[in-house]
Symmetry: C2
Subunit: 300 residues, 2 copies
């Protein structure tokens, strides 16, 4: 029988256990909100001698360098990867596999390779097949972010006290796993290990479905009612301001798990709808109490 | 043909137009988050010589007095109403009609009577029939609040720069309407007039449906996935921590408009679901873009 808990609580470790490791050259592929925040956090913690950013737009990279986030930049991934001992791909989920493969083809086998994508199963299974012999990729998903985009919103404390999920498989190098876990811990994160598939099912419920639920609410707002929204509407729809391109990518990369989670959601919503339509105060109170209990159990 | 806009833009006035009026005795029936915040705001702005709280629990009222929110308190509504020139009922929507009627039976006809309930049609139509001859009640709904409860969370700035809807009808006293609008403006609010029925339809979309949408999401969270929630889930479910009792009352008092609004919502959600199930990136992006555009148009 499969446990309902998708991760092993034994491997949930706190930042207190952390020892530090310093990298010679950290390469961030994609210097947006997440890449920029990793750069800021790594610099603050002194975890890398050199932080390099790779991207497609030299002007944006130059601005990120001028902002003090990265030490240097390049639009040439292979040559930069060849000189780096740690590569973190922070591009949209649809580009992670290609970027990791490009880096892996150029870098030393011992270079650590990870990403920050919020979908893991397709990325990890494709890379398990396609990664050059001797290289190791372990997926990461730091549960930290914002509806805002761009390195201008980067924050060195974005990861502090948050959870990071890493998704090794049976072929993962134990040395790579240790290093990557240690890296996230040294940014102040609590690290959980789980399979890529379990990750995608769980995150469908805790992140992807909430995004759809929130976006559908924002999408239905009649323009004449905009002045009549209060903090409740604004909180509930905050994440709907996220980038449509990034989210199309995420939602379609985890479509099956999200579809299933949305069915659970609409069943639940139906219970509320029926209780309201029937004027059934007892059922409605039970549902609202269940919601409140769950919400209160989250600390912020 | 009816305009889609449920209020008259001409009557949307800003705090800048405001002149001040001072009340001899302001009576707050119910000293929780809203009643307490009104007390704090009125004291800060010096709008009343005396602020009295009425409620059912003397210990809570005494604590609110000790916190400096009210000058005195009583559990006897009629005798306190008789001495007050302004009465604001801040009890749950299911109790507003009874509390206004109790106050009206005891107070002078010129005493101003309003409430802060987030449902208006039933309250206003019942009071139009039942209010003693010569008295005037005008419903108010300040669009300000919190998922928190109790005067301990009261804040004098809760109303600042927010919208307050007032719902007069054809029999409303113009003097009462002027005074009540001026009162909310002097707390820094933008005041909108609309019919109670239009209010309930609009607020079903901007507040009541969001509450249900948020609560259904919180209710479906599996306990083992709680550590996997991030800020997105937390923002989207924040209002689900609101009081179940208060919300049963609200949702069942505006059931028809909410049921209709929830149908619009589920239609919208279905479009997202279908696009995800079909892997239809074009439609999904269009929907997400619509959501983002609407959300971005709200300033915070």
């Amino acid at each position: 029988m499969q446990s309902r808990r998708p991760y092993n609580a034994d491997v949930m470790t706190t930042p207190a256990n952390t020892s530090r490791k310093t990298w010679n050259q950290l390469l961030l592929v994609g210097v947006g909100l997440l890449g920029g925040s990793i750069a800021a956090a790594v610099r603050q913690a002194g975890l890398a001698k050199n932080i390099v950013g790779v991207g497609r737009n030299p002007e944006r990279l130059q601005a990120a360098q001028q902002a003090g986030l990265i030490d240097s930049y390049s639009t040439d991934l292979p040559s930069t990867a060849a000189e780096s001992d740690f590569v973190i791909v922070c591009t949209p989920v649809g580009r992670v596999v290609a970027d990791i493969l490009t880096a892996a083809t150029a870098c030393k086998p011992e270079t650590r390779l990870t990403d920050v994508g919020s979908v893991k199963a397709t990325i990890c299974s494709e890379l398990q097949i396609q990664l050059p012999e001797g290289h190791s990729f372990i997926g990461s998903h730091p549960l930290a972010g914002s509806e805002k985009q761009g390195f201008e919103h980067a924050c060195p404390n974005l990861f502090n006290n948050r959870t990071c999920i890493v998704t090794p498989d049976e072929n993962s190098s134990s040395g790579a796993l240790k290093d990557i876990k240690q890296f996230w811990k040294s940014l102040g994160m609590h690290v959980l290990e789980m399979s890529a598939k379990c990750h995608d099912i769980a995150i469908a419920e805790t992140s992807h479905t909430p995004h759809v639920v929130s976006a559908a609410l924002a999408a239905m707002l009649a323009s004449e009612n905009q002045p009549l929204t209060s903090t409740g509407f604004r909180d509930t729809t905050r994440i709907a301001a996220g980038s449509p391109d990034l989210w199309v990518d995420i939602l379609l990369s985890n479509g099956k798990a999200i579809s299933e989670s949305l069915r659970t959601y609409t069943d639940r919503l139906n219970e509320f709808q029926n209780a309201i339509a029937d004027g059934d105060a007892t059922t409605l109170k039970k549902l609202l109490q269940e919601a409140k209990t769950n919400r209160d159990s989250l600390n912020t």
